[in-house]
């Protein structure tokens, strides 16, 4: 049977690895040689789960969406990551990584952020642990995500504008990596998704795996079986998807559905649908699918959702796509906004626009009435209110 987890060098099939300059080698190598042992220690597990329970508010509910199920003729469950502290699944990873940083004796935390959700989740755990926090954010994103910038500042983080390149998430990530190169001794870099050099994709996936671990238990209680027919998530870098799929990766009876942002449409030149538009290359130290020119220059993606606005996908997802294990869809801005509005109207839940993309798949394919679907409701839509207002003239 094919393995969909990372091997010891961080490869998922041909994807992954650590394509890093020597300046990063000692830090990445230290993390690589210690992360599994640290994560699996009883002491770490105890503290991690205690914080997830008492601080984050886990386990998040698995909610049967009755009206959505009736409308689409399937048994639809929602995994309520939107109810996590800070409003999205991102905090599962930042809790894990801040504990990891402490075990490694690091005194200073850096992170990148696009829309600001990961930046807020990082600033939050740094406040919790009393560690200084520097968040790199593209100058363009700072201007369009003012509320999250304010939240990070209130939490005590320093938000540093990334002024290079296109001044968005990709460049914020470059700046965070440059910071790490310049501060090789005392700093831990909390990457926000299942991207970057090994061991990050695997480490972040393992922290997010609490999502599928809970789904198994909760579904068993509700349906008498621990696996759905399909697990469905949106994919930008792919951390919420990795967490929702994790315990089902090697169970072929569970369909894995990934939904990417088509932006204004796959062929408009303003899209972030990496599986459809990407080719094999290297971005941020990982071999994966990414959007680039034939000359190997990385291109700028576009999506209405800042959290899906990344030109690559994590190597796990690239492997799920090329191996055929995952079923990949892409959804336009318009389709995602409609799906978000529908969820609000049918279930009383306003999803993040990232998350709304996943729900639009209900109009793209059919399911059997007895199929059990689990959607990972990765984030809530409060942060996107302005976009909803503008889009629907509310």
């Amino acid at each position: 049977m094919e393995n969909y987890h990372a091997d010891s060098d961080g490869f998922y099939g041909e994807f992954g690895g650590a394509f890093i300059p020597e300046m990063l080698y000692p830090n990445v190598d230290e993390l690589k040689s210690r992360y599994v042992e640290i994560m699996e220690s009883p002491e770490f597990q105890k503290e991690f789960h205690q914080l997830l329970r008492e601080y984050v508010g886990r386990p998040t509910p698995l909610y049967f969406a009755r009206r959505l199920s009736e409308k689409y003729g399937a048994r639809i469950y929602l995994k309520r990551e939107d109810l996590c502290h800070t409003g999205a699944h991102k905090v599962n990873n930042t809790i894990g990584q801040i504990l990891m940083a402490r075990k490694l004796g690091k005194k200073r935390i850096i992170a990148e952020t696009g829309a600001g959700q990961h930046g807020v989740a990082t600033a939050t755990v740094c406040a919790l642990m009393g560690l200084p926090c520097i968040v790199y954010m593209g100058e363009v994103d700072i201007a369009r995500q003012a509320p999250n910038v304010a939240r990070m500042k209130l939490l005590g983080a320093e938000v540093r504008p990334a002024r290079s390149g296109s001044r968005t998430l990709k460049d914020a990530t470059n700046e965070a990596i440059r910071d790490w190169i310049n501060n090789p001794e005392d700093t831990h870099y909390i990457i926000g998704s299942v991207v970057g050099p090994h061991p990050y994709p695997d480490m972040v996936a393992r922290f997010q795996a609490v999502i599928s671990e809970e789904i198994q238990k909760q579904l068993l209680e509700k349906e008498g079986r621990d696996a759905p027919d399909y697990v469905i998530a949106c994919v930008g870098g792919g951390s919420n998807a990795a967490g929702a799929y994790y315990h089902y990766l090697d169970r072929p009876e569970v369909g894995i559905i990934a939904v990417e942002a088509a932006g204004k449409g796959i062929s408009t030149g303003e899209s972030a649908a990496t599986s459809a538009l990407g080719t094999v290359g290297i971005i941020h130290g990982s071999k994966t699918l990414l959007m680039q020119t034939t000359d190997g220059q990385i291109t700028e993606p576009y999506s209405i959702s800042a959290g899906l606005d990344y030109p690559g996908i994590g190597p796990m997802h690239a492997h799920l796509f090329t191996s055929g294990r995952g079923e990949f869809h892409s959804v336009t801005d318009q389709q995602a906004m409609e799906a978000g509005k529908e969820l609000a109207a049918l279930e009383g839940i306003i999803p993040a626009i990232e998350t709304a993309h996943a729900f639009a798949v209900l109009k793209q394919r059919t399911f059997n009435p007895e199929d059990i679907l689990v959607f990972n409701l990765s984030g809530r839509g409060d942060k996107d209110l302005q976009t909803y207002i503008e889009h629907f003239n509310l």
Binding site: D9, F19, P21, G165, R178, I181, H284, G296, Q297, T299
Partner: protein, 262 residues
């Protein structure tokens, strides 16, 4: 003809054996103007530098500071591509006899096709490559045979944090020189070297490695060049040279080189 001659001549080896400290200059291909690549090479040769690194611009140069980021962006905007660079270098060996090293990130090489890239390098007379984000282990496992087949010398970086064991592995894997990154930093970030940096240069020089060491990152003038080459065979100047090109164009090259090595 050219290929044959190229195979015979170990230009890097010859340059490294010359008396005195070696001066190598890095510049971004296609900067400040698309067709400046060859004129810059001519100017550098005329002014007596010993080796040249030609930078292949990349959209996301994560080991570089602002100066090289900006020159790379400008070069890409000018229309520079890998294909274009090989076109510009087609007849370079009819006039430039210095060792030429291509330095760039791995993704553009991967898109060109690793073997096709190596073949082109040999064809135009490139002597070596520096690909900072192609790590030693992956090079050894997947690519070494290809690079060696085309007679290209691969140069690896070490930093003050690189362990002695790893430095020795790198020394065994290389047969050109070791690129000694002066301090933990991106390119261009330093203002002179502290005693810790000099201790590190000395420590590495006392390891009796088979490959000479060339210091890079943070060398900008006669003083830092002198400090760097006290214990190392040579030094590479990149960002400071690019700044000169930005401010004075090609006419500034001569006085810049003279100011570094009078």
């Amino acid at each position: 003809m050219q290929i044959k001659e190229n195979k015979k001549t170990d230009r890097i080896g010859v340059a490294l054996k010359k008396e005195g400290p070696l001066l190598s200059i890095y510049f971004t291909a296609g900067y400040p103007h698309l067709e400046d690549t060859l004129p810059v090479l001519r100017e550098l040769q005329k002014n007596g530098v010993d080796m040249i690194e030609i930078g292949l611009p990349f959209s996301d140069p994560l080991a570089d500071g602002p100066t090289i980021q900006e020159s790379s962006m400008a070069a890409l905007k000018n229309g520079m591509t890998t294909h274009r660079l090989f076109d510009q270098l087609r007849d370079v060996r009819s006039e430039i006899h210095l060792p030429l090293i291509l330095m760039g990130y791995f993704n553009p090489v991967l898109q060109f096709g690793v073997e096709a890239f190596c073949e082109k390098c040999r064809e135009v007379g490139i002597d070596g490559l520096i690909l900072p984000d192609l790590p030693l282990e992956i090079y050894q496992k997947q690519y070494r045979a290809i690079f060696e087949k085309y007679g290209l010398k691969m140069v690896f970086l070490i930093t003050p944090q690189t362990s002695e064991a790893r430095i020795r592995t790198i020394d065994r894997t290389s047969d050109a020189f070791i690129y000694m990154v002066s301090t933990a930093s991106t390119t261009g970030a330093q203002q002179g070297f502290d005693p810790a940096a000099e201790d590190y240069f000395k420590r590495v020089s006392e390891m009796n490695l088979k490959n000479p060491q060339i210091v890079g990152f943070g060398i900008s003038n006669a003083q830092t060049f002198g400090q760097a080459t006290k214990h190392a065979k040579g030094a590479i100047i990149g960002s400071a040279f690019i700044k000169t090109l930005t401010a004075h164009g090609l006419s500034g090259i001569s006085s810049f080189i003279k100011s570094v090595r009078p």
